[in-house]
């Protein structure tokens, strides 16, 4: 999996904010969601991501894999990640870091920006291509 092309994002104070440029939705990723998002930037099989996180947080892989898979499935449902090539050399292995406790990933969706994207390109454009408002 890898980041989708139509998104922009920024990480501040342990929170990644992702903006989907086509839907207008934006998302807050917290907990280990920030780390998962960083690992997805490189791309890679979900199993490798789980292995890296398990090693980093000194947790059994079986303990975190369901949570990680479910979180990435949520990202995929929202169009924030898509299938992509794995990095040629795999994800970088890291030693356990006792200062980074495992926190379950959290994904919150905000849809209050849909006003900016009022026009549906299929149903609200006239035959010459000019966008028009949908009549009630």
């Amino acid at each position: 999996m890898i980041h989708a092309p139509n998104i922009v994002y920024e990480t501040l104070e342990g929170e990644t904010i992702v903006i989907h440029l086509d839907t207008g939705n934006y998302y807050s990723l917290t907990g280990s969601g920030v780390e998962i998002w960083e690992l997805l930037e490189e791309g890679g099989p979900i199993a490798q991501i789980c292995a890296v996180l398990a090693r980093r947080h000194a947790r059994p892989e079986s303990e975190i894999s369901n949570t990680v898979e479910s979180f990435i499935a949520g990202l995929e449902r929202e169009g924030l990640v898509e299938a992509g090539d794995a990095p040629p050399n795999g994800l970088r292995a890291e030693a356990a870091d006792p200062d980074r406790p495992w926190e379950p990933p959290k994904l919150e969706c905000y849809d209050d920006m849909r006003d900016f994207l009022l026009v549906d390109p299929i149903h609200e454009v006239d035959q010459t291509g000019w966008p028009s408002r949908k009549t009630a």
Partner: protein, 347 residues
């Protein structure tokens, strides 16, 4: 080799420019310069239609004289010049949600149509030249009259240290507040409450962020847009309805009503996140991430181009400047004094 779509975009752009030249020959040309911060813009109007409708909003940045420009924009409307644009080459599925024309954008040329209105805006990134065509200047929607050319200005003004923000700004050159949040959060109401309380004004929902040498918000427009409930909250404002058909929107010409309070730029010493609440006005510290969530999505979704640079600037700003949520409360007259006090202690 250039992609066929990009060649078509350039060909269409050139054909629209030829239409502008024809309109200019037939209806006459009028030039007006703007000074937005350090950036000089030349507007070339063919015919009187658009200049009469668009220029009032730019009153604080109108500039006389001549000299070099950073970029120029050619503008005309069909109703007063009799000159239209060549048949649109885009098709039903080419216009994506924001109004960007997929098949004409992405390379050197950018193209956009206003949703629900026959207004075409194009930009040549290499020559730094914009075009705006409207079917009828007098049928422009209120947001294009109150905050005209926003997209062309975004294309022309964006740089690694400048970005057009969806935000208001009040205060002065020593200390000021950037007001951030989605539409309906209270940015315009807060801005005008501050003006009534004697604070300087740089904009209600669109200002230019300059980050060097220190963050400041530069005024682009002298107008503010208000909804009917906000006008009721601030009785006595010189608010006018931009269209007799729409009773829900109002424009306030702040530059005309309070010329001494109009600021060319405001130092950004705090970021405020207004929230419509009952009770009393209250300021609470907010995190940089909260401020970013209130500022970045609406800014980026209005202007998706250059979004990576814009996000980096906004991220740097909210890390650098303290942020507060501003619970507006039910006594709107208390908002101006509360912000004035905050700005004084922030000096």
């Amino acid at each position: 080799m250039a992609q066929p779509g990009r060649q078509a975009a350039r060909a269409y752009y050139e054909s629209v420019r030829r239409a502008f030249k024809r309109a200019s020959r037939e209806a006459g040309e009028f030039e007006q310069r703007l000074q937005i911060g350090e950036v000089r813009v030349k507007l070339r109007f063919a015919g009187p239609g658009l200049s009469a409708v668009l220029l009032p909003a730019f009153s604080p940045v109108l500039q006389s004289g001549s000299g070099p420009n950073d970029f120029e924009v050619e503008l005309w409307d069909e109703a007063t010049t009799g000159v239209g644009i060549p048949p649109p080459p885009w098709s039903l599925r080419d216009v994506i949600a924001r109004g960007d024309i997929r098949t004409l954008s992405g390379g050197r040329i950018r193209a956009h149509v206003a949703r629900g209105h026959r207004v075409l805006t194009m930009w040549d990134c290499e020559r730094r030249r914009g075009i705006m065509w409207a079917a009828d200047a007098h049928r422009l929607p209120y947001w294009l009259r109150a905050a005209p050319l926003r997209l062309v200005l975004h294309w022309g003004l964006s740089s690694p240290r400048r970005h057009l923000l969806h935000a208001g700004a009040v205060g002065d050159e020593r200390s000021g507040a950037l007001l951030v949040g989605p539409n309906g959060s209270g940015k315009s109401t807060t801005s005008l409450a501050c003006v009534r309380g004697g604070l300087g004004y740089a904009g209600d929902d669109c200002v230019l962020l300059e980050t060097e040498p220190s963050p400041r918000a530069i005024s682009v427009y002298g107008t503010a847009k208000l909804s009917a409930p906000s006008v009721n909250l601030l009785p006595g404002l010189p608010a006018r309805r931009p269209s007799p058909d729409d009773e829900s929107k109002f424009i306030v010409d702040v530059a005309r009503a309070w010329p001494r309070l109009m600021q060319r730029s405001v130092a950004i010493s705090v970021v405020l996140l207004p929230q419509v609440t009952a009770g009393r006005v209250l300021l609470r510290p907010a995190s940089a991430a909260q401020a970013f969530r209130a500022l970045a999505p609406s800014t980026v979704l209005q202007h998706a181009d250059e979004s990576a640079t814009g996000l980096a600037l906004m991220s740097r700003l909210v890390r650098q400047i303290p942020a507060y949520t501003l619970e507006l409360g039910s006594d709107i007259a208390a908002v101006g004094p509360a912000i004035r006090h905050l700005l004084e202690v922030s000096l």
